[in-house]
């Protein structure tokens, strides 16, 4: 046994003080009475009680002595010592979405795992250190090397189970850091799966009788009349399910479905009367352990209409092209008045063989065979005869890559083009020989400028399929979709393109928070952590707003009723190594027992004293 606070033993000096008090108190207080006649007579009646009286006096004195000793001991903090018995635990708590699954009593796996950690902490010896690592999408320490049971409990109470995967790799890396410093560390992983090869890690599977039904996918296609929606559903046990479909909050159809355990089923909804929608949701009312995957939504991708102003004397090719685009509305104008007109109010300005004196600033600009060059560009003499259109190479931009993927250009030629010298702000996209003939640039306000150094009539390009692909890519470049997809998993990065002239980008999350993202780059990104429908909204400097919805779901791996954990291990240094630490002594305080004894002594002393004093 040892004393954690030996200074407390100085209180034992109160024992001689007590003895002195008893000696001093031995003096009798004078008290005058009418007569001592009866008092003297009472001595005869006291004789047979004398031994008990003496015993009570001694008992009182001994009680008080022992009480002083007990208080001194309590202050000195006595503890039983076990040499090398102290332990260190590194506890990894899986905080992935599947840990939210609840059993029939409403307890989640995460809560049970936290309780097991609390129980372990409570029964450890004094001196044992505990670290808890929360393994969510990003692993982090909840507590690090604490010997306080209450600190562990408070940290666990504040821990939140996420909606994504558990980053066990990072969690093990953190655990390794601690093991490097102490070779006698026990590493325990609290998760909801078994591990075949756990190495030197103990895996505690906290799964119980939970079961789960998940909607894992929802797609749609446009039919001759209406839409057809197809949902995939999988459950961990055989069960009958009700599955319903709602469009923009209105329930349109419901089905009864028999689901076989661990077998994906498909349910199809043919919505002939549905003409349009923003968000369609399929959901089930199953009373399973995880609610977040009981619904799946699909958001219709919207394409904003583009108003095109085509200024050309011979707009045939371009007009037909834009008319063929569903999202373009073209207005044709003659170039005669282009020096006098102030252009505005269009999303795309196409100047074919002409350039206005003042270029519009509220939309993207395409120039074909310009008569004057925009900034950072210079026109030179024409050069021409049958030059083949090629991709120049050496460009890694997204636009160039998209063109390279979609264009063939084996037959595209240009008979006459202007030789253009362009500055670094321009990106060359197509060339005739060594002369770039197609340039693109992003302006400061986010709009795009595309310059063709040749007239389309001087090329066979409009006759080839490459023409449509090229124009599509240029349109996509000039007018990028805010979102390329509308279906993402939790913690998956959602890229949001910044629209031209965008001043503000806000995202309303599934849990009704508003997130503001920067519009200074060409694209922003969001890492969603809540399941549900999000809405991204961009406001342009023209006052127009563009909206797009997207759905975020749980990672599919978390929807299924458990993965297996493999290849978990940490490297523990050799105990014999000189650099290795020796295990600490384990200490268990015994103050509680001393306190109990003190309490009993107080009761005894009080009882004897007050009984004596009637």
């Amino acid at each position: 046994m040892k004393f954690l606070n030996p200074a407390g033993l100085w209180l034992l000096l109160l024992i001689p003080v007590l003895i002195m008090i008893y000696i001093i108190r031995a003096r009798h207080e004078e008290r005058s009475v009418s007569s001592t006649f009866i008092w003297k007579l009472s001595a005869n009646f006291m004789k047979n009680r004398l031994p008990f009286r003496k015993m009570r006096k001694i008992l009182l004195f001994i009680c008080q002595l022992l009480m002083i000793a007990a208080v001194a001991l309590l202050t000195a903090r006595p503890a039983m010592v076990s040499e090398g018995g102290a332990e260190e635990y590194v506890l990894i708590l899986d905080a992935s979405a599947s840990m939210k699954m609840e059993n029939s009593k409403g307890e989640s796996r995460f809560e049970r795992a936290a309780e097991k950690i609390n129980e372990l902490a409570a029964k450890t010896m004094y001196g044992t250190e505990i670290s808890v690592i929360l393994a969510s999408e990003e692993a982090s320490y909840l507590v690090q090397r604490t010997d306080s049971v209450s600190e562990v409990r408070v940290a666990l109470n504040s821990a939140v189970c996420g909606n994504g995967n558990a980053n066990l790799t990072e969690a093990l890396r953190l655990a390794q850091q601690l093991c490097d410093e102490n070779p006698v560390t026990d590493v325990i992983l609290y998760s909801d799966g078994d591990c075949e090869e756990a190495g030197n890690i103990t895996v505690v599977n906290v799964s119980e009788d939970e079961w789960n039904v998940s909607l894992t996918a929802l797609t749609y296609e446009e039919a001759e009349e209406g839409y057809v929606f197809t949902a995939e559903i999988i459950g961990s046990m055989d069960t009958n399910l009700n599955v319903a479909l709602s469009a923009d909050g209105v329930i349109l159809d419901a089905r009864r479905l028999y689901c076989t355990a661990d077998t994906a089923a498909t349910v199809t909804f043919e919505m002939e009367e549905l003409t349009d929608f923003n968000v369609v949701t399929v959901y089930t009312d199953a009373k399973d352990g995880l609610k977040e995957d009981n619904s799946y939504s699909v958001c219709k991708k919207r394409e904003d209409k583009i108003d095109v102003l085509l200024v050309s004397d011979s707009p045939f090719y371009l007009k037909n092209l834009f008319n063929a685009m569903d999202n373009c509305t073209v207005t044709v104008s003659s170039p005669e008045n282009n020096f006098l007109l102030a252009y505005g109010g269009f999303g795309l300005y196409v100047f074919d063989g002409t350039v206005p004196r003042v270029l519009p600033s509220d939309g993207s600009i395409w120039m074909f065979a310009p008569t004057s060059a925009p900034s950072d560009m210079a026109l030179t003499e024409k050069k021409g005869k049958d030059s083949k259109l090629t991709l120049p190479g050496g460009n890694t931009s997204a636009l160039y890559t998209a063109l390279a993927d979609s264009l063939v250009l084996d037959k595209a030629t240009v008979q006459s083009y202007s030789r253009i010298v362009a500055g670094k702000s321009w990106e060359p996209l197509l060339s005739c020989g060594e002369d770039p003939v197609l340039f693109a640039r992003k302006e400061k306000n986010g709009t795009k400028t595309v310059v063709f150094a040749f007239d389309l009539h001087d090329s066979n390009l409009p006759l080839l399929s490459d023409y449509v692909f090229l124009m599509n890519e240029l349109l996509a470049y000039s007018f990028p979709d805010m979102l390329t997809d509308t279906d993402y998993a939790v913690s998956e990065s959602v890229p949001i393109s910044i629209l031209p002239m965008s001043e503000r980008l806000l995202v309303k999350t599934a849990d009704s928070k508003l997130v503001s993202l920067s519009t200074k780059t060409s694209a922003a990104s969001l890492i969603p952590d809540a399941v549900g429908v999000y809405t991204a909204a961009q406001t342009l400097s023209t006052g127009d707003s563009h909206y797009m919805d997207f759905f975020v779901h749980l990672p599919v791996s978390e929807m299924l009723d458990r993965t297996s954990l493999n290849n978990l291990s940490v490297e523990l240094p050799d105990l014999e190594s000189e650099d290795g630490m020796q295990a600490e002594d384990g200490i268990r305080e015994i103050r509680f027992y001393v306190l109990l004894v003190l309490f009993l002594l107080i009761l005894t002393e009080w009882g004897v004293y007050y009984y004596e004093q009637f």
């Binding site: 008290r31 009418s34 007569s35 003297k40 009472s42 009646f45 004093q613 009637f614």
Partner: protein, 298 residues
């Protein structure tokens, strides 16, 4: 000093009379039946004529019938003389209210009841080994009030040897009244012998023990040196040390009960009335309950 007698006090006692248990001799002019025959008008009995009897008392009717000489006897109504002895030692000056006050009120009450019954009463203070006559024989209410005033001025101090002081009384009386001894009887003196002596003198004796509430139920505790109020010096053997606790108080109560039973046994064996009163009890309770129960009054 608080007056021991007031109007209310006296009015309470008007309905009471002393319980004279035996026929006694007294002087003429009282209301008590005497043990001797006298010349009053109330016929009592006959007896045979003996030489020397008054011839005028011969009842000739009886002679005519029985031809024997008998004389008539008449009740002799006499005045008794009661004596009240008050222990005036220091121990009687204790208590709240003081036992001395209770003792003097008792003495005054007994005196008033006596004079009301046309009897005489004397008051004596017992102190050391002396018996001091506090006032002359009291007859009639006027003299009683004077005596009450004298009682007011009695001082309680020192020690009292009950036996010596009682027996030093010059005129204790003989078969002519009740002797009341008011004390706490906390003494080693042979007062029982004095009582026997009074009984021999033909006195009807009544012992009244006066105790304070503290003496009945002591409320002290701890290590104490008990100083007897009648002890002169610190080394007096009556002073002693003890640790007062629950058990000692219990033993005290047993000792007190034992002592009182001893007195009671002594008294009952001699036909002596005995009662114990507490100094904080009212006169009404003392006389109308305890006094009646102990047959001290009627």
């Amino acid at each position: 000093m608080k007056k021991i007698v007031d109007g209310a006090f006296l009015s309470t006692l008007e309905t009471l009379d002393l319980n004279v248990k035996q026929l006694m001799n007294g002087t003429f002019g009282g209301n008590r039946r005497s043990s001797s025959y006298g010349s009053s008008a109330e016929f009592a009995d006959f007896r045979e004529y003996t030489a020397g009897d008054d011839l005028r008392r011969i009842d000739w009717n009886i002679y005519g019938r029985f031809e024997k000489l008998f004389i008539k006897l008449y009740i002799d109504e006499r005045q008794l003389h009661h004596r009240v002895y008050i222990d005036t030692s220091a121990s009687m000056a204790y208590g709240e209210p003081e036992k001395s006050y209770a003792a003097l009120r008792l003495a005054a009450a007994l005196g008033f009841i006596s004079v009301q019954a046309m009897d005489k009463v004397s008051f004596y203070a017992l102190n050391e080994d002396e018996c001091q006559d506090l006032c002359r024989t009291v007859m009639g209410k006027d003299a009683f009030y004077l005596a009450a005033d004298r009682l007011n001025r009695v001082e309680f101090h020192g020690d009292t040897d009950l036996a010596s002081s009682l027996m030093s009384c010059e005129n204790p009386g003989k078969n002519d009244g009740i002797t009341y001894i008011i004390s706490d009887f906390f003494t080693e003196s042979d007062w029982k012998g004095a009582v026997d002596w009074l009984l021999f003198k033909g006195r009807q004796v009544v012992l009244i023990q006066v105790l304070s509430r503290d003496e009945i139920t002591p409320g002290m505790s701890g290590k104490l040196q008990l100083m007897d109020s009648e002890a002169i010096e610190e080394e007096d053997t009556r002073n002693f040390k003890m640790e007062v606790s629950r058990s000692t108080v219990k033993a005290y109560a047993e000792a007190l009960e034992y002592y009182e039973n001893d007195i009671r046994t002594f008294c009952s064996s001699r036909g002596v009335s005995f009662m114990t009163v507490c100094s904080d009890e009212s006169i009404e309770r003392i006389f109308f309950k305890k006094g009646l129960e102990a047959e001290v009054v009627k």
